[in-house]
């Protein structure tokens, strides 16, 4: 895209820009200059850059249309460095800074050409009648098998801008705010409402998406007959109110802050851009710290006042997308606020008085107003009279029906129109101009009020949607000013005062005296509803009349959608893509509904209402994520021995939030070599595992034992003090949910262990039963997981090694398997549990967590002569699987009963209380013979090397490998390892009716087309009698 540099469109005076400070910037690699106070949009306009983008679908040249968040075309890519790339920036909302680099987003057109030439060479050229709505669905849905191929290109083609390829160096903050009154929007309504609240002593947050607070007051000017407040020009009144608000202790003023989402119970997310007006990467401050680029304020407000104003609607006429077609209010704003004229010769097409300001400001800037086409037959307001007095030609009962020009407007076709008959009635007059400004009325910015599901309500008075105030989803939510359909300044201020007072009263403050400012008189005549302008050809054959510029949706497209049977506006939107993307229907929504309503011969409210969802404008991922990235993405939990593990070069695995040693490689060992060495060390000598992460719940109370009886599947009535027992927990549907060993420390004191991942949920589960079903039981529970460090010392040499550290008598007859003792361990008071998860002689040492590393190191000091080896979770898995010990969540999936697991020995069928899960075990479904049951698998070894076969965990099992596809799948592998002790691979698996099929062969079809065979065995592979743990 190359631009011819045209003379500056900057006016000689006026505006809020600083004419002394020029700023350099580039657009598409070309250098330009703007002024401090410019937006990127106003600076581009001042430099005469007309074409900013190619349109989404038809690749038509597009330029600026608006001056605010509703801008549909000027969506640019920003950033001078790779890491500073920001997509989706609206040039109208980006303040100019020195060194800014911007680019058009043109990747789409290239991708689309690529797509077309690849799949539809016969289409030949882009756009036009070849791409009606539904084009993609109709063209690419067949053959269905190719959709995945098409989709890749279509997805790529559908992007606007691109993400940076490097990490973002910026930091983003989240702030939690609580306030009495949150005022969104700082125009006259927002300022007065905030002033009333602040003077009354309420805590107030006032936010506005623009660079400066003031909203519409910032573009008010005597040139366009704009009113005074209390005799002051608007900007002076604004300055005085802001000064007073800024002096209040409990008022937070937030410019450059967009309220992007309104959520349940008056929770509002505000996105404050703190440095984006300075650079694409946040500057470093004087202390060398990088400033936070943005803040996401999470505000809980007692009252929310939405004073977000209104968006002007453009009229829908042919070629209304050619650069130089704008909305009237934007033309005014560029003139009065930024001192830039959009062109030299203006034609205005309107249906209301307010839009005449554009012509007055244009004239005042010394430019030529060719004509105003007013759809009304006898316009009469004060602004109209002022235009007449200035000698501006007004063509009544008429409108611009078509724009001339290609890359810039060169003329306007104006004709008398019959709105009710939807036709052109008079001769078409050709006017020469370079700018066409249109206004079809004003749509209240109701987006936020719709985010919680309250549908906006159509108003025939306002000719727009209003927030559904009073709806239950909008409790404590108010709106005033143009956002609630008050357009005259007097009405706006009266409504804002009332909103402020209502908020103060709701917050129970005395209302302080505030007088609504007196406004100079200005008579405005009513508007005449007009949306799509008739053309001298029917809509389907007229040159394109754009409704949604961002998504290239035309009036003819909507007409086609209704003709194809899409009658609900929601369906029309999905069929045509109207209101999609970053636009969210800001400019085009009401016009689109009006077109659909006309085609269907019904009213706009009959056609539907409109739904808006967060976010109002795009928010960067950085702002959403805040500091929750990198090391702070998720909390990390370490055991007391973490330092030692790290020093030993342990590899870690995540178990919930815990970081657990996975294995301890020595030298160049890979995981398999390390695990084999660790396994053999435990089986032959002694190993130690850091088991501190196991959930530990301390249970006390007179009825603690009865409570365990009800929660666990097995019996606890006779467990003596000092004894431990394995327990299994089910949901009430009979499915296993957790397991662990619980120890009786005293008659009314038990220590329960849970799985590492299940600890918090199990505590909540037990509290549920205690608090809701059995409050009469005297039982208290508390989590002590973090209080104890647990060292599992296991292997034939465990007794000798532990004996060197403790005064507890470890004699096999005095301290038996499944018993607990208290005593000194390395001079630290602790407990030893004689329980085993490896099948070997094991002692679990528990010491207060703060001594964990000390005891661990002491153990290693004594352990060398026994060949003490640390082992991690992977070795633990192999060792326990060799013994057939399940891991809940790995070998179970919420559909396994204790009986499915072959754990009938752990079910107290005769316990007096019908414990949780018991009744479900007699349901017909849990009694089926063909339930999937836990078994062991040993891969069939047919040749040397096959002993290394390890079945894949999750692999599907079939009985008949020759069955036609789809084969009936009868189970899957749950745990699978190579056992250095056994010298071959082995697995735990579930198979339908498996426990009756011991010795049979099953088959495991592999992804590569081959099939593995395995023999069903009992799920215990090593020391089947359990002799080794009892030595």
């Amino acid at each position: 895209m190359t631009e011819t540099r045209t003379p500056s469109r900057r006016t000689s005076s006026g505006g809020r820009i600083n004419r002394e400070t020029s700023l350099n910037f580039t657009f598409n690699g070309k250098r330009y200059q703007g002024l401090a106070g410019d937006t990127l949009a106003s600076a581009l306009m001042a430099n005469g850059v007309d074409v900013l983008n190619a349109s989404f679908k038809y690749a038509r040249p597009r330029g600026l249309v608006a001056a605010g968040a509703e801008e549909p075309n000027a969506i640019l890519q920003l950033g001078s460095t790779e890491s500073g790339q920001v997509p989706n920036v609206r040039a109208t909302q980006q303040a100019l800074y020195d060194g800014l680099e911007a680019h058009a987003v043109s990747g789409w057109v290239k991708s689309q050409k690529d797509l077309m030439s690849r799949f539809l060479p016969q289409v030949g050229k882009l756009g036009g009648k070849f791409m009606p709505p539904g084009f993609y669905y109709k063209t690419f849905m067949a053959p269905a098998s190719l959709w995945m191929t098409y989709e890749k290109y279509i997805r790529k083609a559908a992007g606007l801008g691109r993400s940076p390829l490097e990490n973002d160096p910026d930091i983003y903050d989240h702030l939690h705010q609580h306030t009495d009154v949150l005022v969104i929007g700082s125009g006259p309504a927002g300022l007065l409402a905030a002033l009333v609240a602040a003077r009354s002593g309420a805590r107030v947050i006032l936010c506005d998406e623009q660079e400066e607070l003031g909203g519409s007051l910032l573009s008010m000017s005597g040139d366009c007959l704009d009113q005074t407040l209390d005799g002051q020009p608007a900007s002076e009144w604004r300055d005085a109110v802001l000064a007073e608000l800024a002096a209040c202790d409990d008022v937070l003023l937030l410019p450059r802050t967009t309220a992007n989402g309104y959520h349940d119970h008056n929770f509002v997310t505000l996105h404050e851009r703190r440095t984006e007006h300075q650079a694409d990467i946040a500057p470093v401050n004087s202390r060398g710290a990088r400033q936070a680029r943005s803040r996401l304020h999470r505000v809980r407000a007692h009252r929310v006042i939405m004073a977000t104003g209104a968006h002007e609607r453009p009229l829908v006429y042919s070629h209304n997308d050619v650069p130089g077609n704008m909305i009237a209010g934007a033309v005014t704003t560029y003139l009065t606020r930024f001192g830039v004229a959009a062109g030299d010769k203006l034609v205005l097409s309107v249906n209301n008085d307010h839009a005449y300001r554009a012509a007055l400001a244009w004239k005042a800037a010394g430019r030529d107003v060719v004509a105003i086409a007013d759809a009304r037959s006898a316009p009469s307001g004060a602004l109209v009279e002022a235009a007449r007095a200035a000698g501006i030609r007004i063509i009544t009962g008429a409108a611009v029906i078509e724009a001339r020009g290609d890359r810039r407007v060169t003329g306007a076709r104006v004709a008398a129109i019959d709105i009710d008959g939807f036709k052109v009635t008079g001769e078409v007059e050709e006017l020469v101009c370079d700018t066409i400004a249109s206004s079809g009325g004003y749509s209240p910015v109701v987006h936020l009020a719709a985010h919680t599901g309250a549908r906006p309500v159509w108003s025939d008075e306002v000719h727009g949607f209003l927030p559904a105030l009073g709806a239950p989803m909008l409790k404590g939510f108010d709106a005033c000013g143009a956002a609630n359909g008050s357009f005259s300044l007097e009405d706006v201020l009266v409504a804002a005062y009332a909103s402020g007072v209502a908020a103060v009263e709701a917050c129970e403050y005395p209302v302080a005296d505030t007088i609504v400012p007196a406004v100079s008189a200005l008579v405005e005549a009513p508007m005449l509803p007009l949306y799509q302008v008739p053309h001298d050809k029917p809509t389907a054959r007229a040159p394109k009349q754009f409704v949604d510029l961002q998504n290239d949706v035309t009036a003819a497209g909507i007409e086609l959608a209704t003709r194809e049977g899409f009658e609900s506006i929601e369906h029309v939107k999905r069929y045509t893509a109207m209101g999609f993307g970053t636009d969210q229907g800001k400019l085009g929504n009401v016009n689109g509904m009006a077109v659909a309503a006309r085609c269907l011969g019904q009213t706009i409210p009959d056609t539907g209402t409109t739904v808006f969802r967060p976010n109002y404008t795009p928010v960067t991922f950085g702002a959403i994520v805040g500091r929750h990235c990198g090391a702070l993405f998720d909390p990390m939990r370490y055991t007391a021995m973490q330092e030692w593990h790290v020093a030993q070069g342990a590899k870690f695995e995540d178990v919930g939030q815990w970081k657990r040693p996975w294995y301890y490689p020595q030298g160049s060992e890979d995981m398999h070599a390390a695990v084999e060495r660790e396994c053999l060390a435990v089986r032959e000598k002694v190993g130690v595992l850091d088991a501190s992460t196991l959930g530990k719940i301390d249970i006390t109370g007179r009825d603690a034992r009865e409570f365990l009886n009800r929660i666990y599947t097995n019996a606890w009535a006779k467990l003596a003090v000092g004894k431990a027992r394995y327990g299994l927990m089910c949901h009430d549907d009979g499915m296993v949910m957790d397991d662990g060993v619980t120890t009786c420390l005293a008659e009314d004191h038990f220590l329960m262990t849970t799985t590492t991942g299940g600890a918090a949920a199990i505590l909540e589960w037990m509290e549920l039963w205690h608090q809701t079903e059995w409050p009469e039981l005297d039982v208290q529970m508390t989590s002590v997981t973090d209080h104890w460090a647990t060292l599992t010392v296991t292997g034939p040499e465990a007794r000798a090694l532990v004996g060197e550290l403790t005064d507890i008598d470890l004699d096999r007859d005095n301290f038996k398997f499944m018993e607990v003792r208290e005593g000194m361990i390395a001079d630290i008071p602790g407990r030893i549990f004689r329980i085993s998860f490896t099948g070997e002689l094991s002692y679990e040492l528990n010491v207060p967590a703060n001594y964990g590393q000390y005891v661990w190191e002491t153990l290693f000091a004594k352990g060398e002569k026994y060949g003490l080896t640390p082992y991690g979770t992977e070795t633990m898995h192999v060792l326990r699987a060799e013994k057939g010990f399940i891991i809940v969540g790995q070998d179970t999936d919420g559909s396994m009963t204790p009986e499915d697991l072959g754990m009938q020995w752990c079910v107290g069928y005769n316990k007096p209380y019908s414990w949780i899960g018991k009744r479900a075990l007699t349901r017909p479904d849990t009694r089926r013979d063909d339930r999937k049951q836990m078994i062991g698998l040993i891969p069939r070894r047919k040749k040397a090397g096959d002993e290394r076969i390890v079945l894949q965990e999750g692999a599907q099992i079939v009985f008949d490998p020759d069955h036609a596809i789809p084969m009936p799948m009868v189970g899957h592998v749950t745990s699978s390892y190579y056992s250095p002790t056994l010298g071959h691979g082995f697995a735990l698996a579930v198979v339908k009716g498996g426990s009756a099929r011991i010795g049979e062969t099953v088959f495991l079809p592999q992804a590569d087309g081959s099939t593995l065979e395995a023999e069903i065995t009992a799920p215990v592979f090593y020391d089947k009698k359990g002799a080794r743990q009892n030595v």
Partner: protein
Amino acid sequence: MMHIFCPYCGELREEEEFHAKGQAHIERPIEPEACSDAEWGDYLFFRNNPRGIHHELWIHAVGCRKYFNITRHTVTYEILETYRMGEQPGITAETLAAEQLAQSAAASAASSTTQQTGDARP
């Protein structure tokens, strides 16, 4: 994100502190073995999914760890009341319907005498 009043802490707290635990007032049959399979299945698996008033069990998981009940509107997300375990809801679909009936009766009586202003402000 909802703002939830914990009836034990006596404060409005952020939803993040709570866990939802499904439909409230599900009582476990006192004698499970006396239940038919169908009755037991109803207790285990069947839950209401109303469009409107719903009584829900919640726990103040990272606060006081107490379970309590919420009467919530599933469309508007209004929380109409929270109450402790063992208490019964003060607001139900039935009481609300009766209230609305009385209100609309009063409104139609009023509208016959005074003209409505059309002001939607609460």
